[in-house]
């Protein structure tokens, strides 16, 4: 797959450890763009895919919102699976995957629409309901020898999957890893977040003083990782490096982020140590930025606590593509690599009046970033936090 993400003349292989994991191919599907270039262009044009929901009934009397970022023309496969259709749309973009690659999938709810159908007594299949079904669908398509692992850790699922992929490569337990993640917008999740009063009535506004909650979205991403040495030997494109990562638990609350962001701060600290980087080497941040009052406050506190008071460009894409739950990390890592490649971060859609501490960092406009590393973070139910440091 050739796209502009690959035009990275800033890649410095002489400083690379031979077993360090590099990303050699990446593809994605979102409601705002069915491929990386389209999504990036529309992000730069300040587009948003968040709009009225027609997939399932949204009764305004019962729900706190009626909007989400849904892929307009996504229809279930012949065997009634929406997530398989999404995965097919993703994998058709992917270049050749080495047959020795280990597959790691990530999702929060997989084919949850079929669980809805079963509960309603409607015709449906069971096969895409277990989370391991993503691997069963992908693996034979690309000729992999095993179905690998499926990682689930709420909204940090795919961030952790990429971290685990990089760990397998660094340790020598895998010579290539394909990470795939996917999530669909469902009545199931919509009703749940509505019941928690976490949905914004209008498109979400990450890091804005007037933010009122999150907007759901759907999407999928795939990243091919391999050791830097192999990528060089095989003449593969190198989109960037997974320099380090950290995973923690707040040990504070199972649905709300910890006040002060100590858990996320600890994850970032672990990521910095793992990457052997100093805070000043982080030149930009792709934040989880859900648009909920507590998440965005917590993130700003955590960034300041660990990275210090120096301001640096921060962005969130949730106002444009919605919160894609288990797929959020994978999509955002790809966008983080694109940001490093172009030395630009996209506008944060919906951001107008800065939350305290966001001034001079988050912007409604495109921002230039300096050469260096980009931090990307995700947090979720169960108190989980994950941070990854990306390098050129």
């Amino acid at each position: 797959m050739v796209h502009t993400l690959l035009q990275m003349d800033t890649f410095h292989s002489e400083n690379q450890q031979p077993r360090q994991a590099v990303v050699t191919d990446a593809v994605l599907v979102t409601a705002l763009g069915g491929d990386i270039d389209t999504l990036w262009r529309r992000l730069m044009q300040k587009g948003t895919a968040i709009g009225p929901i027609s997939r399932f009934p949204v009764d305004q009397e019962h729900y706190t919102a009626g909007i989400a970022a849904i892929i307009d023309d996504l229809k279930p496969s012949r065997d009634h699976s929406l997530i398989k259709s999404l995965l097919d749309r993703l994998m058709v973009q992917m270049g050749p995957v080495p047959s020795d690659a280990t597959l790691i999938t990530a999702t929060l709810k997989a084919g949850i629409d079929n669980l809805e159908a079963v509960c309603r007594g409607n015709p449906s299949g069971f096969q895409d309901i277990p989370l391991s079904s993503l691997a069963e669908h992908i693996s034979p398509q690309i000729g992999l020898k095993s179905n690998g692992l499926c990682i689930s850790a709420s909204c940090a699922s795919s961030t952790i999957a990429v971290a685990q992929g990089a760990a397998l490569i660094e340790s020598g337990q895998a010579e290539a890893v394909l990470v795939c993640c996917a999530e669909i917008v469902s009545e199931y999740a919509f009703a749940g977040f509505s019941s928690l009063k976490a949905l914004a009535p209008a498109p979400c506004q990450p890091f804005d003083r007037g933010r009122r909650g999150l907007s759901l979205g759907e999407g999928a991403a795939a990243l091919l990782l391999m050791p830097a040495a192999r990528a060089g030997r095989e003449g593969r494109d190198r989109l960037g490096t997974i320099c380090g990562w950290g995973i923690t638990n707040d040990a504070a609350h199972i649905t709300a982020p910890a006040k002060g962001g100590h858990g996320l701060a600890q994850a970032i600290d672990k990521a910095l140590k793992s990457a052997e980087k100093k805070p000043e080497e982080i030149t930009a941040i792709c934040a989880h930025g859900t648009g909920t009052i507590y998440n965005d406050r917590m993130e700003l506190d955590a960034f300041k606590h660990i990275l210090g008071p120096r301001k640096r460009p921060i962005f969130s894409v949730k106002g444009a593509i919605g919160h894609t739950l288990g797929a959020a990390g994978g999509i955002e890592i790809i966008l983080g690599l694109k940001a490093l490649a172009t030395l630009t971060i996209p506008p944060t859609i919906g951001f107008t009046h800065p939350e305290k501490g966001a001034e001079g960092q988050v912007s409604a406009e495109t921002q230039a970033i300096a050469n260096g590393c980009l931090l990307t973070t995700n947090s979720g139910f169960g108190g989980v936090n994950a941070a990854i440091i990306l390098g050129p």
Binding site: R19, D59, E61, H62, Y63, T102, L108, K109, I112, L115, E116, V118, C119, R120, F126, I129, P130, L131, S132, A135, E136, N147, L149, C150, I151, S152, A153, S154, A156, S157, Q164, A167, S171, G172, Q173, A174, E175, Y188, F190, A191, G192, F193, S194, S195, I247, T248, N249, D250, A251, H253, I254, T255, G263, K270, S274, G380, F381, G382, G383, V384
Partner: protein
């Protein structure tokens, strides 16, 4: 394993085991028998394990109650159930069906009245990793935490992953194990996964003052050894540990 590089084996010590299965609940230093039968899970009383008040227990779904109780027993077995400061201890669990029971229970609150009665309390437990958060809160565990879904129930995927986190020094100690509440009958699937939860406390060799059960070693993504002997599944590993204690 990769051509051209030497992959060193990863070694950790098993210092505690806790379980809740259809045959009962227990921990390795106080119970000598273990079984994980493919039977319906009987009522069990987590209150017998949690001596201090634990109000969230009542709110949890069966899957979460199983997982939290087994992790508590494993921590107690390793002498790590009391704490004053939060600790860099992780948890990685394995499952086939995860929280499908909670998913069905929750969605059945969405159906009537088009979402107006959706239960936020039930929704809170519809992430397969939510119970890891409950265990983390209860025992001050701030380390790595996530669930690994397997197609076929060996229960070993989480242990493999946990060993890797110890080797990378991501966590000072880590719990690895399995948590299964089965597949709800509404799906009409065959009962092929024994219900229950089993967790092992893994630590760097020699770091716990209590005598360990033995050395768990990972040679590759698909090969585990316990005291040098191959381990095919999680039940076998518990039995091997208990046989060490019986000697």
């Amino acid at each position: 394993m990769c051509e051209g590089i030497v992959v060193e084996s990863i070694k950790t010590e098993i210092t505690g085991i806790g379980w809740v299965t259809a045959a009962g609940m227990g921990r390795a230093r106080t119970h000598r028998d273990f079984a994980m039968p493919l039977e319906r899970m009987p009522e069990f009383r987590p209150e017998d394990v949690f001596k201090e008040p634990f109000p969230n227990l009542r709110r949890m779904d069966d899957y979460s109650r199983l997982g939290v109780t087994a992790t508590a027993l494993a921590l107690a077995d390793a002498g790590l159930d009391t704490w004053t400061c939060k600790r860099n201890i992780g948890i990685v669990g394995t499952t086939v069906y995860g929280c499908l029971g909670a998913d069905v229970d929750y969605y059945n609150t969405v159906i009537p009245n088009r979402g107006a009665q959706a239960s936020p309390a039930l929704f809170s437990y519809t992430s397969a990793n939510s119970y890891l958060g409950e265990a983390a809160i209860r025992f001050g565990l701030t380390g790595t935490n996530y669930m690994v879904f397997e197609q076929h129930p060996t229960g070993l995927a989480g242990l493999h992953a946990a060993l890797g986190h110890i080797a990378r020094q991501d966590d000072d100690k880590i719990l690895g194990g399995v948590c299964e509440a089965g597949c709800p009958r509404i799906f009409g699937q065959p009962d092929n996964v024994p219900p229950g939860a089993v967790f092992f406390m893994l630590e760097p060799v020699g770091s716990n003052p209590l005598p360990g059960f033995g050395i768990l070693e990972s040679l590759s993504m698909n090969k585990l050894l316990f005291n040098g002997s191959p381990v095919d599944n999680l039940v076998m590993l518990v039995e091997q540990c208990l046989s060490v204690m019986r000697r």
